[in-house]
């Protein structure tokens, strides 16, 4: 009404000034740059593969071993984070204590040969098998008790304090375990050579019997057939098939058969491509690590998905107060979670020490952190995510060390975390973060 033409013109100018351009072009440019960077890395890896595929695949086999150890630690991280929202920095030290328990039991008590004490004529293979399982189980029990004690005395009193208090306490517990171990009468602060519970044998072409390879493929194909059949039946509306499709035995068959058939075939069959003979090898340590890691994972899946305790754990992770109202003893459930996670970390410690043949009071820090990174990559709070993330982590580390830059392997492994957090904050299997306002 009272607006002059000049005022209208000024308003229009303001509108033009506010009319900012769409930033999509710039975003695409930035994405393109990062894609180029990714392509560069892929190119380096592809070149390495083209140069010598055998070495590349061998590296991947080695990465598998590392990945399965990380998986055992990552499961504890992911479960504990899922239920109490705490980065348990001391988890890596539980892993260290597991390794040391097995060290003392083996080199002090000779426990890995206990069946031979009872029955002298027992075949060597059986003695070692039973002895190794005993050592692993014992370390798991010790670590589980340690984790429970940690929860009871350090974290539980702080449950109603701000979260940062628990985090600082976790750092304190971690320091305590590390430097208590460094005392001269505990472990001392030297690298100690570890006595393996079993001797290392390296399997190459010819030393793996075709029966083992065939058996692994048979197991895999059988469980795959079962899986497909059940899938088809459940499509038809068969309710029983729908519940059996997630049966732990089927998962065990799929995972164990799948990994073992691929590894054994690669190691046991001599292929020749383009004048290069593939002479791959897999040691029995790798196979033991793979096997025990998969078995423990499946047991854990069984506990979490099919038992009352697991149901209580999932409920407590979802909503602690509601779970308490439903009559779940949340404190006991959290203690059980710590025990499970600690037990798995202890087993991981034994396997890690067996693979790398030395123990040290700070050995838990870096594997612990990498396992945490793996848990984040897989999606924190998700159990299959921990396995997948750990395998990715193992491959990243080995390939980075082998083909990109050996001294930078840790830096590249941790950069992976930053990249994943930026591109995919909830991880591969994680649920999108829902924030309560």
């Amino acid at each position: 009404m009272g607006k002059s033409a000049r005022e209208l013109a000024r308003a229009a100018r303001v509108d033009i000034a506010l009319d900012r351009r769409d930033g999509v072009v710039l975003n695409r440019l930035a994405q393109g740059l990062f894609a180029l960077l990714g392509l560069g890395v892929m190119y380096v890896l592809a070149q390495a593969f083209a140069e010598s595929p055998a070495i590349f695949v061998q590296q991947m086999l080695n990465g598998l071993q590392l990945g399965f150890i990380y998986a055992l630690i990552a499961l504890g991280y992911t479960m504990i984070y899922g239920i109490v929202k705490l980065i348990n920095f001391a988890h890596g030290d539980v892993f260290m204590v597991g390794a040391f328990t097995s060290f003392y039991v083996i080199s002090g008590l000779d426990l890995h040969r206990w069946p031979a004490w009872l029955w002298a004529g027992l075949p060597e293979g059986v003695v070692i098998l039973i002895g190794t399982i005993t050592v692993i189980l014992l370390s798991m029990v010790v670590s589980a008790f340690l984790a429970m004690a940690m929860e009871r005395f350090a974290y539980r009193p702080l449950r109603n304090k701000p979260r940062i208090a628990a985090l600082i306490t976790a750092i304190g517990v971690s320091f305590f375990l590390e430097y208590f171990g460094a005392l001269p009468f505990v472990y001392s602060n030297n690298y100690i050579t570890y006595t393996r519970p079993f001797e290392v044998t390296v399997y190459t072409a010819g030393s793996i019997s075709p029966w083992a390879i065939g058996g692994a493929w048979g197991l895999f194909l059988l469980s795959l057939a079962g899986y497909l059949l059940l899938k088809w039946r459940s499509r038809q509306g068969d309710l029983r098939a729908q519940s059996w499709i997630r049966h732990p035995l089927l998962q065990l068959g799929l995972l164990l058969g799948g990994f073992f058939s691929v590894v054994l075939t690669l190691a046991g069959v001599q292929i020749e491509t383009g004048g290069e003979i593939w002479d791959l090898s897999a040691s029995n340590v790798t196979l033991v690590i793979m096997g025990s890691s998969i078995i423990l994972q499946v047991i854990l899946q069984y506990v979490v998905n099919r038992t009352k305790l697991g149901k209580a754990m999932r409920a407590a992770a979802y909503d602690k107060d509601a779970a308490r109202l439903m009559g779940i003893n949340v404190d006991r459930v959290i203690a059980a979670t710590f025990a499970l996670g600690g037990g798995l970390a202890g087993a991981g410690g034994v396997l890690y020490a067996t693979a790398f043949k030395q123990v040290h009071h700070l050995m838990g820090i870096i594997p612990g952190l990498k396992a945490f990174v793996a848990a984040v990559v897989g999606g924190i709070g998700s159990i299959p995510g921990a396995l997948v993330g750990s395998l990715i982590m193992g491959q990243t580390e080995v390939l980075a060390a082998g083909f990109i830059s050996t001294p930078m392997r840790d830096a590249i492994a941790f950069s992976l975390l930053i990249v994943v957090l930026l591109v995919w904050p909830q991880g591969i299997f994680g649920e999108p973060p829902g924030e309560k306002v």
């Binding site: 710039l26 304090k161 600082i168 950069s415």
Partner: protein, 416 residues
């Protein structure tokens, strides 16, 4: 004059001067030997690092474990500048000084450019600023260095040795702090978007990455004088008590004034409730990046001071395990209490590195790290808000907002 000094600021200035003079006299008289001199300087450096962490974590609520990474950047950056200068090479001075100003200039241009677009993602912002930094330092190395290198050499060479040394040291400290600030700015743009725990882990990764890079400075990075994992030697020992005191006071006053300004209030608001702060119209990104960069600058400054006091740098002393130290000091002193941080920082170094090292049997060295986690645990259980809680010295305390009586009365008149 006396009346004007009778307020908290006056007491603060007088107290500061008194401390400065007392320590200076004790140092000149030789009562404090080199060991205790080192302890005091170390305490000041750690306290600066920790004040930075308190700004990031205590006042802004971002759980950071990356403080030692920035400390390392500052230390190595500043040490490299002076090392090169001592070896008749002005490249460090020129590149750092002009690279910093150039990148600040380019940042201003980039921010003006980015403001003309909407829907810019974080990655785009990150890329733009990263490219600007690379361009700035490329220009500084390739274009400015050949031109300005000899000029700087002759200009500074014309001055008396003592003066030029102080100027180079000043530029080195500035450069170390500036490099830490630039890195934290670039790193902070994407990473501060993450939640609190993820941010902590990302900054921990940053510390580990920096340590790995420092281990390989001579093989992977083009800095043979840093000597990688063998440790950098031959850094001139130029840190003196006035420099330590000056930088320390600068950090304290800058942090105090920042916290008392309106930016400081937005920083606190973001700590209290990020969502609510955003709804009130606070630029949350800026309110997170500002304290992060400031805290890193403090750490970088401390790194420069420490490097020129020790005259030796080793990547192992910037291990991420060490980076828990500032966190523990902050928590001991009380999150969000500058006084607590300052006192605890000095007491920490004084006790752990000074008294315990001197007066306890040598076997106790390993026991220290068993005892202090236990104290930490007890502290968390009994007094989780820290020794000092929210207590502040009067000078550092935030005063309540002044009531604007005059405005209020004018308004009421208008209504009437």
């Amino acid at each position: 004059m006396l009346k004007r000094l009778k307020n908290p600021t006056g007491y603060f200035i007088l107290g500061g001067l008194a401390i400065f003079l007392v320590v200076q006299i004790l140092l000149s008289a030789g009562i404090l030997n080199n060991f205790w001199r080192g302890i005091i300087f170390w305490g000041a450096a750690i306290t600066m690092v920790t004040l930075g962490l308190n700004l990031i974590f205590g006042f802004n609520g971002q759980f950071s474990l990356g403080q030692y990474g920035f400390y390392a950047i500052g230390a190595y950056g500043a040490a490299d500048v002076t090392y090169r200068w001592v070896h008749e090479d002005p490249s460090g001075v020129v590149v750092v000084f002009f690279g910093l100003w150039l990148s600040l200039l380019l940042y201003a241009l980039v921010s003006v450019l980015l403001r003309r677009f909407y829907g810019i993602t974080v990655m785009t912002k990150f890329t733009a600023y990263l490219l600007a930094t690379i361009l700035a330092f490329w220009v500084a190395v390739k274009v400015l260095l050949p031109v300005l290198g000899p000029v700087t050499m002759t200009l500074l060479g014309a001055l008396p040795e003592a003066v030029s040394q102080q100027i180079v040291f000043f530029i080195a400290l500035l450069g170390g702090a500036g490099l830490a600030g630039i890195v934290s700015f670039i790193f902070g743009i994407p990473v501060l978007e993450l939640g609190s725990d993820y941010f902590g882990i990302a900054t921990l990764s940053f510390t580990i990455i920096i340590k790995v890079l420092l281990d390989n400075t001579d093989t992977l990075l083009p800095f043979p004088e840093m000597k990688g994992a063998r440790g950098m030697i031959g850094i001139p020992q130029w840190t003196t008590w006035p420099w330590v005191f000056g930088t320390f006071m600068l950090v304290v006053v800058v942090m105090r004034n920042l916290l008392h300004s309106s930016s400081g209030r937005t920083i606190l608001a973001v700590r209290e409730d990020e969502r609510a702060a955003e709804l009130v119209g606070i630029d949350v990104n800026w309110a997170k990046i500002l304290p992060f960069v400031m805290g890193s600058i403090f750490a970088g400054l401390a790194g420069g001071i420490r490097a020129h006091d020790m005259a030796f740098l080793h990547p192992q002393s910037f291990n991420f395990i060490q980076s828990f130290n500032p966190l523990i000091i902050v928590v001991f002193g009380g999150l969000g209490s500058m006084t607590g941080t300052i006192l605890t920082g000095f007491i920490w170094i004084f006790l752990l590195e000074g008294l315990l090292r001197l007066y306890l049997p040598s076997g106790f060295e390993t026991w220290r790290f068993v005892v202090y986690p236990l104290i930490l645990l007890l502290m968390m259980l009994l007094r989780s808000e820290g020794l000092f809680g929210e207590y502040e010295l009067p000078f550092l305390r935030r005063s309540a907002l002044p009531l604007r009586r005059k405005v209020a009365s004018e308004e009421s008149e208008e209504v009437a």
